[in-house]
């Protein structure tokens, strides 16, 4: 027997209540909020705390550290005097996490990079879910030829390894500006990685949506609406979509986590966010050559990705539990 209050609360309120009582969900939301706020404060941090421009190369500069003038790029102390190494973490306001190979403050770039990583992954996730909803609902509701055509198209896309597909699309768009009739999209425009990542994950999100719609289209309320002569568009919008919404909500953070990983991978390969802009993937790329001498350059954005993706996955699981009508109130 369901608890009494569960029969009184609306499904959304019930889900919210379950979520509020889930410590994992609360922890995930807190982490995501913290990361988002920190990234939003990137400008403040760079200007007023670190006093740096994280987009300008500054290899020949020096800072005052512990009362001493210190070069950002420090000559190596070897018999041949070969090479220079960027300054490591200072654990002070300037160059807190050290410098990248261009003499830029890693901490400031980490925050700016987080903005792009979050913006791209969130936008790609929303776009992907929207496209997947259209595909899944149309395929599931109309069935027949529409279902066969859309499902086979999804099968074909799904058959291509996701990263290979994303890399192929990215290389084409990064090589030169994209011209769509009168519209030109610059190769460094963030819209490109957003759209590319959204497209490659449509099959991932569309399948469960189609499955949900397949079960809904034979539901009583849909049959009644049809027999009453309600237009198909109205049925889709007023009856199907609200019932698919929980699936979309559950999918959103999971797709966002996947999108973040994809964005990082593309940027790491220099075909996502373009320099001098940053994302966590580009910063890992910057730190690749410094992995032995200045590992923090690669480790810091790597940790940021791990923490954020973990939080998104935990939130996705919690949302699924909270929205699952079969589960009782815990």
């Amino acid at each position: 027997m369901m608890p009494l209050d569960a029969t009184i609360l609306s499904p959304s309120r019930l889900a919210l209540r379950r979520l509020r009582r889930d410590p994992s969900a609360l922890a995930a939301i807190a982490v995501l909020a913290l990361v988002t706020l920190a990234c939003l404060a990137a400008g403040l941090y760079a200007r007023h705390v670190a006093h740096t421009d994280p987009f300008t190369s500054d290899v020949a500069a020096a800072i005052t550290l512990h009362g001493q003038l210190t070069d950002i790029m420090q000559p190596n102390d070897n018999p041949l005097h070969l090479g220079l190494t960027p300054i490591g973490p200072t654990w002070s306001v300037q160059y807190l996490l050290g410098s990248d190979p261009q003499g830029r403050d890693v901490a400031a770039r980490l925050l700016y990079g987080g903005r792009n990583s979050l913006l791209i992954s969130a936008s790609a996730s929303l776009l992907c879910i929207a496209m997947a909803a259209v595909v899944g609902i149309l395929a599931g509701y109309f069935g027949g030829f529409v279902d066969a055509a859309l499902s086979r198209m999804m099968d074909i896309m799904w058959a291509i390894p996701v990263y290979l597909f994303a890399i192929s699309l990215s290389i084409v768009t990064v090589a030169q500006d994209l011209h769509l009739g009168p519209i030109t999209i610059a190769s460094d425009n963030l819209i490109l990685p957003i759209v590319i990542i959204a497209i490659v994950y449509v099959p991932y999100a569309a399948r469960p949506i189609r499955g949900r719609v397949l079960s809904l289209r034979h539901a009583e309320f849909v049959t009644v609406a049809r027999s009453l002569g309600v237009r198909e568009a109205r049925i889709l919008l007023r009856d199907i979509l609200p019932n698919v919404a929980p699936t979309l909500i559950v999918l959103a953070p999971l797709v966002m986590a996947l999108a973040m990983l994809a964005e990082s991978a593309l940027s790491f390969l220099s075909i996502g966010v373009q320099a001098p802009a940053a994302s966590w993937g580009t910063i890992i790329n910057d730190g690749q050559g410094l992995i032995y001498t200045r590992p923090m350059v690669a480790i810091a954005p790597g940790l940021a990705i791990v923490v954020t993706v973990l939080a998104l996955n935990v939130l996705g699981d919690s949302l699924r539990d909270a929205l699952d009508a079969r589960e009782g109130d815990r």
């Binding site: 005097h81 070969l82 090479g83 001098p276 050559g289």
Partner: protein, 542 residues
């Protein structure tokens, strides 16, 4: 010189044999010696082909001098420097067994015009009939090169004296090939050789293999000494980072590409005995297209020269131990080096500083404002090598600070140099390097800025800037003529030309560079020349 380093004239047969294993990120392009203009393959050509002259196979400055190779001796100039009569050395055979004949020399000189050798105009444009060959290569007869098979002589008639003619003949483009060599780019099929090695196979996607030329014999050890290794195998597709690791581990003996910045410290610390710093006549510079906006405006070009932080570029190349800021296109050590710096903080064209001190960003921004080009879009073309990518990122940052919307386009190193030369690609600005073909000012000034080096629509247009200034052209011609009889006065005139070029600022010289070589533990007799770097025939692996 350490006792274990032998000059080319003292061959030690005890070290003969084995396979020299080389690695590079990419192949060097066509294997046609008359066409290829990549230092990667020039190194190979110097141990496979010979010209009438060559640069002495010796260490250090001695290697700058052109000496007789397939010619018996360097001829005295006749007719006031307008005629040279070379006597071909007898008894030398190509790797297919045929004897080298006078007809081969004449045909080779004619062929370099027919196949559009990149230096056909800049190096050999002074040969009588060269202008007609340059205009219409399909009917090239080159009457200025006359062979006499019976006498064994080849006579060159020039339209004007050329003080550097022997140096130019020593460059691989003037290699002597069999007279029946096809009159087109040979691509992956190498013609027969005369040097100690011959090409066995070349696959640009994987590797190149060279073996001993069975018909080679030493005729002058300073010109073409015998090789130590029996085989040379060049593997392509090994990225620069991987090259360093592989050489450290003994999988390869040497890697062609520059050592990435992040690996230099490790080499200096742990592989000191295997690491060699080699002095070069080589520079990095920014080339600006004087025929495309915004660089068709001299104010913009000067602004770039003021804005660029040459110390930052030096850091990104690997530090001051292996690079120095540079203000003119002729590096120190070459006659005609200007030696003053008009584009640095506190200096101008009328009051140049003795050396580069610091960038002057304020002055640069003023010039950009005056030019009215602020906000325009610029695409900077770089190669995809690690050092160039780092420098490119800095330059993009600098151009953005100057007020331009700047894109950075990295092109694979195999094709970047040719890509930026072709006017069809409409390259506005590029980062590139220049290694001396010979150690004279004309190679840095005339070749890079003369009207004869500018060929619109061609991948072989070394005057990338498109500058063609009649005043500078006349000054360079005069410097070339005067140098025949008076090298010192000629050097002054070349310096004047260098200053005139500085004023028009078609390029922004950045740094003069040395090269860091890391070799395997087993590689002995480390032997480099100023112009062709590691001499593969003179290092041994056993």
């Amino acid at each position: 010189m350490p006792a274990d380093l032998l000059p080319a004239t003292q061959y030690d047969p005890a070290h003969r044999g084995g396979t020299l294993r080389l690695a590079a990120d990419g192949p060097g392009g066509t294997i046609d010696p008359a066409i290829n203009y990549q230092s990667e393959f020039a190194q190979l050509f110097t141990v496979t082909y010979d010209g009438l002259t060559t640069f002495r196979k010796a260490r250090g400055r001695a290697s700058d001098e052109a000496i007789a190779d397939l010619a018996e001796a360097l001829p005295e100039p006749l007719d006031g420097g307008l005629t040279y009569v070379f006597h071909l050395r007898r008894g030398i055979r190509f790797s297919d067994g045929r004897e080298v004949r006078v007809a081969d020399v004449v045909a080779s000189m004619r062929r370099l015009f027919i196949v559009h050798s990149p230096t056909s105009g800049s190096f050999f444009g002074s040969i009588v009939g060269a202008d007609a060959c340059l205009r219409d290569s399909s009917h090239c007869t080159l009457p200025g090169v006359i062979g006499d098979e019976a006498a064994g002589t080849i006579t060159f008639h020039l339209t004007h004296p050329d003080a550097d003619f022997f140096d130019k003949l020593a460059f691989p483009h003037a290699s002597i090939l069999p007279a029946d060599t096809p009159l087109h780019d040979l691509g992956n099929d190498a013609p027969p050789t005369t040097g100690p090695y011959r090409f066995v196979s070349y696959n640009p996607n994987s590797q190149l293999v060279m073996e001993r030329n069975p018909f080679f014999h030493v005729w002058n050890a300073e010109a073409q000494p015998d090789g130590y290794a029996d085989r040379i195998v060049y593997t392509f597709g090994v990225p620069d980072e991987a090259q360093v690791t592989a050489v450290e581990n003994g999988q390869y003996d040497w890697g062609f590409d520059n050592i990435p910045l992040d690996r230099l410290g490790e080499l200096g610390d742990r592989f000191t005995a295997q690491t060699h710093i080699e002095g070069l006549y080589a520079i990095y510079y920014i080339t600006m297209n004087t025929r495309l906006a915004p660089f068709d405006n001299v104010l913009v070009r000067r602004a770039i020269n003021y804005a660029v932080n040459r110390h930052a570029i030096s850091i990104l190349y690997g530090g001051t131990a292996i690079s120095q800021p540079l203000c003119d296109m002729t590096p120190p050590g070459i006659a005609g080096h200007v030696g003053t710096c008009p584009y640095t903080k506190g200096a101008d064209l009328d009051h140049p500083a003795p050396a580069w001190a610091a960038p002057d960003m304020e002055r640069a921004k003023q010039l950009v404002e005056q030019s009215g080009t602020r906000g325009q879009h610029i695409t900077l073309i770089i190669s995809n090598r690690a050092a160039e990518q780092a420098m490119g990122a800095y330059l993009q940052s600098m151009l953005t600070e100057l007020g331009y919307k700047t894109s950075l386009k990295a092109i694979t190193n195999d094709i970047q140099f040719n890509y930026i030369q072709n006017t069809n690609n409409r390259v506005q600005i590029a980062l590139t390097d220049w290694y001396a073909d010979y150690a004279k000012p004309s190679d840095f000034i005339y070749d890079l800025f003369s009207c004869t080096s500018f060929h619109p629509g061609s991948d072989a247009s070394i005057n990338i800037t498109g500058l063609c200034d009649p005043g500078i052209e006349a000054l360079m011609d005069r410097a070339g003529v005067v140098s025949v009889t008076d090298r010192a006065r000629g050097a002054q005139l070349w310096a004047d030309a260098g200053r005139a070029i500085q004023a028009l600022a078609p390029t922004a010289p950045l740094i003069q560079i040395d090269r860091v070589n890391v070799v395997s533990k087993r590689l002995g007799n480390f032997f480099t020349t100023d112009l062709y770097h590691l001499l593969f025939s003179q290092v041994w692996v056993r």
